[in-house]
């Protein structure tokens, strides 16, 4: 049994069926890229895994290490080690980055992390991701540029040390430098303990983070699966061939 096991998952949003039976396995220590054209349902799968309330599971199963995720609230999932790096991180006025990260880390670890240890760890990770110290005084995502938001998502991932990381188009909107910093940040966090699901439209992030498998989603289903070479094919030929083959 895989650590993350998704079977025939169907998901609706606003009454529309978006996922039409997705089956996918991911083990800790492995990295999967999920590609596909816009509107194919990639982000819906990410949100479904992370328990976003706008997405309703209408069929199938989704387990993490044997636990049915669909029965858990988003925070319970996070405490099991599920992390979603969001495509559109939310601005939360008045909640400072420091307070947010500390509350989050304490919740995920299930114990209060001493302040000194927390700050030391945070400053190390910030330095690695080239995040400015002034972030600590700011409110969560408020006034952040697109690139800063994505970097902050990966900073959270670095602090929370999840077991399953889902990166939802983390590469979108990043210039080359920011893409490199973010990608290297993710690459550094890869370990035998961490399963990574990279959701992306383009292949460029996969040059930095080499996946073990590539799956292609189309119209709510996995339409093709293969090794890293599948990404290269898509890069060369685009999604058009896929459309004609379905």
């Amino acid at each position: 049994m895989a650590d993350l096991e998704i079977r025939d998952l169907t998901v609706e949003a606003d009454g529309n069926e978006i996922l039409r039976g997705v089956t996918l396995d991911l083990d800790r220590g492995r990295t999967i890229a999920l590609m596909g054209p816009n509107g194919s349902g990639k982000s819906t799968l990410a949100y479904a895994i992370a328990g976003h309330p706008a997405y309703e599971i209408t069929g199938g199963t989704m387990t993490w290490e044997g636990t049915e995720l669909n029965e858990l609230s988003p925070d319970e999932r996070a405490r099991l080690g599920v992390f979603l790096a969001m495509q559109y991180p939310t601005e939360i006025p008045g909640v400072s980055v420091t307070n947010f990260l500390r509350t989050s880390l304490n919740a995920v670890r299930g114990e209060d992390v001493p302040v000194r240890e927390f700050m030391t760890g945070l400053k190390e990770e910030m330095a690695a991701l080239e995040v400015d110290q002034s972030f600590l005084q700011r409110s969560v995502n408020e006034g952040f540029s697109g690139g800063e938001k994505k970097r902050f998502e990966i900073l959270q991932m670095a602090m929370l040390k999840p077991a399953l990381a889902v990166l939802d188009e983390t590469d979108s909107g990043l210039d080359v430098d920011a893409l490199r910093i973010v990608s290297e940040g993710v690459d550094r966090l890869r370990s035998p303990e961490l399963g990574v699901l990279i959701i992306t439209h383009y292949t460029r992030i996969l040059r930095y983070i080499r996946p073990d498998e590539v799956h292609v989603m189309f119209e709510g289903r996995i339409a093709a699966s293969g090794g890293p070479e599948l990404a290269d094919e898509l890069e060369a030929e685009g999604y058009e061939r896929l459309k004609s083959s379905v």
Binding site: N38, G41, K42, A50, H52, D75, I92, V95, L160
Partner: protein, 456 residues
């Protein structure tokens, strides 16, 4: 003793005499008493400013003046959380019970004293200013059209006079703590004069023994002279049972600046009038407000900014949160005189409805006689954004904790801007206490925008 409605000139004359008040003061009380006799209590059917709050339902004026004897000590005030402390004035049950000076204030010649004593000892200043901002005069902007104000003009009891002399930059806060332990009516009065190019921080704190039924009819007159800076915080941290009527009126002169934070969480009914007359060119005022209303509470908040002089600016921001069967009224009034060219004014109100049954009304009211100005206003009433909640939950933070963080964060913006020593910590403690007492499972969130556009 007689109830408030029966207060008359004769009874006040004997009180003045017994207290040894100077003639001018006794005469002013007599004049106010005569006006009082001619006026009626506010009528919510006819009085524009009372339209949103039924006076006869929310305020009981058939009360006797509270007895000044007895009275316990008030709870620890904001200054307890201020390093180095400050000047502490305490008024319990209508009597000024203590004045604790601060060495820095004393050395700078800051006057802090009982208002009755000041009427004699500092007669020139007190006679010049006491009642000047409440009493309508030719070209003035008095507030005595309202009988609740006239009542205080006539019959105020516990009073304090503060004077920060010109060019004195006082960094330690002055706190006037009004505490209620006795049932009945309380009529506190504050007169503060901040001299030209002086700087002062003034806190008006209000607490009561929970469950004591009292009416507190309070007037504060604040004169902020040329180039002076006043930072003001008023904290309504009453226990249940208090009906609070407050006029806090500042007269802001040339290039003077006022930052005022009204923090309202306690009491059964609070009607607060933070008013600012910008009478000197270049005057600047930033009225801020925070309110949190719970089951049974009714807050009527009426900031009023009058732009009398040119090139003055005002920017009002009030933010509230409501839960249970509670009601808040925000009526933001701005008047711009025909001579007030170059005025810049803005006012905004936001209310967060946490649970079903609460109601927040917002009415911006602009009266503009001058065309050469910039004016804006806005109001929004809504629920907690489900996206905020989801983001925090997705990071492992449980729903209740996440809700607490969001509500606290919502107010933090204002507290951070005000940045008043001791106030932020006290306010946050009160906010957290109120949230802890709330039924968070009943909190409704707004999930209309839960999905970003174009997501699939």
């Amino acid at each position: 003793m007689t109830t408030l409605s029966r207060i008359d000139a004769a009874s006040l004359a004997s009180t003045s005499e017994a207290a040894g008040e100077p003639t001018w003061l006794a005469e002013r009380r007599q004049l106010a008493a005569r006006r009082f006799g001619d006026q009626a209590w506010p009528d919510s059917h006819t009085d524009e400013f009372w339209r949103s709050t039924p006076f006869d339902v929310r305020f009981d004026v058939e009360r006797e003046l509270a007895a000044a004897e007895g009275g316990g000590l008030p709870p620890e005030g904001v200054l307890a959380g201020v390093e180095g402390g400050g000047v502490q004035v305490t008024i319990v049950d209508g009597a000024l019970t203590s004045v604790v000076q601060h060495p820095a204030a004393e050395a700078a010649g800051v006057v802090v004293t009982d208002l009755r004593t000041a009427a004699t000892d500092h007669a020139a200043l007190v006679e010049a200013h006491l009642g000047r901002l409440t009493t309508t005069t030719e070209g003035g902007t008095g507030s005595d059209e309202d009988r609740t104000i006239t009542l205080n003009d006539a019959a105020w009891t516990g009073g304090v006079f503060l004077h920060v002399p010109a060019e004195v930059e006082l960094d330690v806060p002055i706190s006037v703590h009004v505490h209620v332990t006795a049932a009945g009516a309380h009529l506190p009065r504050v007169l503060a004069v901040v001299g030209h190019h002086a700087r002062a921080t003034l806190y008006l704190e209000h607490t009561s023994v929970d469950g004591v039924s009292a009416l507190v009819d309070e007037v504060a007159e604040l004169i902020v002279e040329d180039g002076a800076q006043l930072r003001l915080a008023t904290l309504q941290d009453w226990g249940s049972g208090v009906e609070h009527l407050a006029l806090q009126k500042a007269e802001v002169h040339r290039d003077a600046r006022v930052l005022a934070l009204a923090f309202t969480t306690g009491g059964t009914t609070v009607r607060l009038r933070p008013e600012f007359d910008l009478v000197g060119p270049g005057a600047e005022v930033r009225p801020l407000g925070i309110y949190m209303a719970s089951e049974g509470q009714w807050f009527d908040l009426q900031p009023y900014v009058r732009h009398i002089a040119p090139r003055a600016s005002s920017d009002v921001l009030f933010k509230g949160a409501l839960q249970g069967e509670s009601r808040t009224v925000f009526r933001g009034n701005v008047f711009v005189h025909r001579d007030a060219v170059g005025t810049a004014t803005d006012e905004n109100n936001r209310s967060l409805i946490l649970t079903d049954g609460a109601r927040a009304d917002a009415t911006p009211f602009l009266e503009i006689e001058c065309s050469d100005i910039t004016a804006g206003h806005g109001s929004a009433t809504g629920q907690i954004d489900a996206r905020h909640l989801y983001y925090l939950q997705a990071r492992g933070i449980d729903r209740d904790t996440a809700l607490r963080m969001i509500v606290t964060g919502y107010f933090t913006e204002i507290l951070d801007e005000a940045d008043l020593p001791g106030v932020s910590d006290r306010a946050l403690a009160v906010i957290e206490r109120r949230i802890a007492a709330a039924d968070l499972s009943a909190v409704q969130v707004n999930d209309l925008n839960l999905r970003e556009e174009g997501e699939a």
